[in-house]
């Protein structure tokens, strides 16, 4: 049990996927200008990452490994993720329209979010068991959401500040992300 708690803490804080592993930075800078979009993106990522993490683990364990097809990992994972995203989109549109209205526009973007693919690959590289992979996917995605929402909060305030012209927009965003990353860096001594 304590192993799982350790895994969760290390995935959310110590190895935060955005600020420590540098994955998923494009949506991080792209959708973090408003709190609402950041929250929507965070929810969509958590939803898809957990599903993709477990699906790719199953594909890897029962399809690729038994037949010695590990070199097709990249190709099969991206296909699983792309079709999963498409499927989730259709399912939500039909059955839970309110949720779809909230997440809708972020779903197609997730296919090319390296955080999702990255988590799937990390699960395989660390040789996690199925339960561990499931927990790690969830925790990584929560870490992504946490960092994204924190960053959006900071960015909303920066919008009101007077930033020197050459530093505006992405540039100041990156410097802010650096400072946020420095804060997360302090968690390194924890585990």
């Amino acid at each position: 049990m304590s192993d799982y708690i350790l895994l969760i803490v290390s995935c959310i804080f110590v190895n935060n996927i955005l600020l420590m592993q540098y994955l998923g930075n494009c949506p991080f800078l792209g959708v973090s200008k408003k709190m609402e979009t950041a929250t929507g993106m965070a929810m969509a990522v958590i939803f898809v990452t957990v599903m993709a993490g477990s699906m790719t683990w199953i594909v890897d364990a029962f399809l690729l490994k038994p037949f010695g097809l590990e070199y097709l990992r990249t190709l099969s994972f991206i296909l699983v993720i792309a079709s999963l995203v498409q499927f989730v989109e259709m399912f939500l549109r039909k059955s839970i329209p309110t949720l779809y209205a909230g997440l809708g526009i972020f779903l197609p973007l997730i296919t090319t979010n390296c955080a999702v693919m990255g988590v799937c690959l990390i699960n395989i590289m660390e040789e996690y068991s199925f339960v561990q992979a499931l927990i790690a996917s969830f925790a990584y995605a929560v870490g992504f959401g946490l960092a994204l929402i924190l960053f959006a909060g900071v960015r909303e305030r920066i919008f009101l500040a007077r930033v020197p012209k050459p530093l505006q927009d992405t540039s100041i965003g990156l410097v802010t992300a650096g400072l946020l990353s420095l804060a997360f860096y302090a968690f390194k001594g924890m585990v």
Partner: protein, 197 residues
């Protein structure tokens, strides 16, 4: 025609240089630029994928149905990434180990898919080749520039050769995650200042 091909090539080098001007493909930009060697390796691998996928997609552009085009592009890109993965495993194994997870992640590098969608799907093979080469070189140069700053300051070395002598105390912040963000932010700022003139 010859002139436009040259233009397609050169726009990737300055006017639309990927990580800075288009702000695409940031993840590998931040992650692998700890050392110049990694930066160049990543840049070359991405360039290869970019050129091949651009050319193939451009050749197939009239036969790919519009509604499933993204899925088709991803399959093409993933195939070339697998090729790169296997090639690097065979010929540059130490570099393959260092870049690790970021080689398969070229698939989801927004630059590659972005160029396929924005350029190769609408233009001829020669123009797409030039575009891919230009964008790839621009990406490689940006990675190298960032890597030089980070490696020299953070490690006191350039391409694994010490530059400052033994008394230099490395500025370790630069090779860690926070330094990557701050460094890229400041370089973007410098680019903005230069671009104004």
């Amino acid at each position: 025609m010859a002139k436009t091909t040259v233009q397609e090539f050169t726009k990737g080098l300055w006017a639309e240089v990927p990580p800075f001007r288009l702000v695409l493909g940031l993840c590998p930009t931040l992650a692998v630029t700890k050392s110049v060697e990694n930066g160049i390796g990543m840049g070359v691998a991405t360039t290869f994928v970019l050129i091949c996928s651009n050319m193939l997609i451009s050749m197939l552009r009239n036969s790919i149905p519009k509604r499933v085009r993204i899925a088709c592009f991803i399959v093409v890109i993933a195939t070339f990434v697998t090729v790169v993965e296997l090639l690097m495993q065979a010929y540059t194994y130490p570099l393959f180990l260092k870049l690790g997870i970021f080689i398969p992640l070229i698939v989801v590098n927004c630059i590659v898919l972005g160029r396929a969608e924005a350029f190769a799907a609408k233009n001829g093979v020669v123009a797409s080749f030039a575009d891919g080469l230009g964008m790839g070189l621009g990406f490689t140069l940006s990675l190298t520039a960032l890597a030089i700053v980070r490696e020299v300051l953070g490690n006191g070395t350039f391409y694994n050769i010490p530059v400052f002598g033994p008394s230099f105390k490395p500025f370790a912040f630069m090779v860690q995650a926070p330094g990557a963000f701050v460094c890229l932010g400041l370089m973007l700022c410098i680019m903005n200042v230069l671009g104004k003139k």
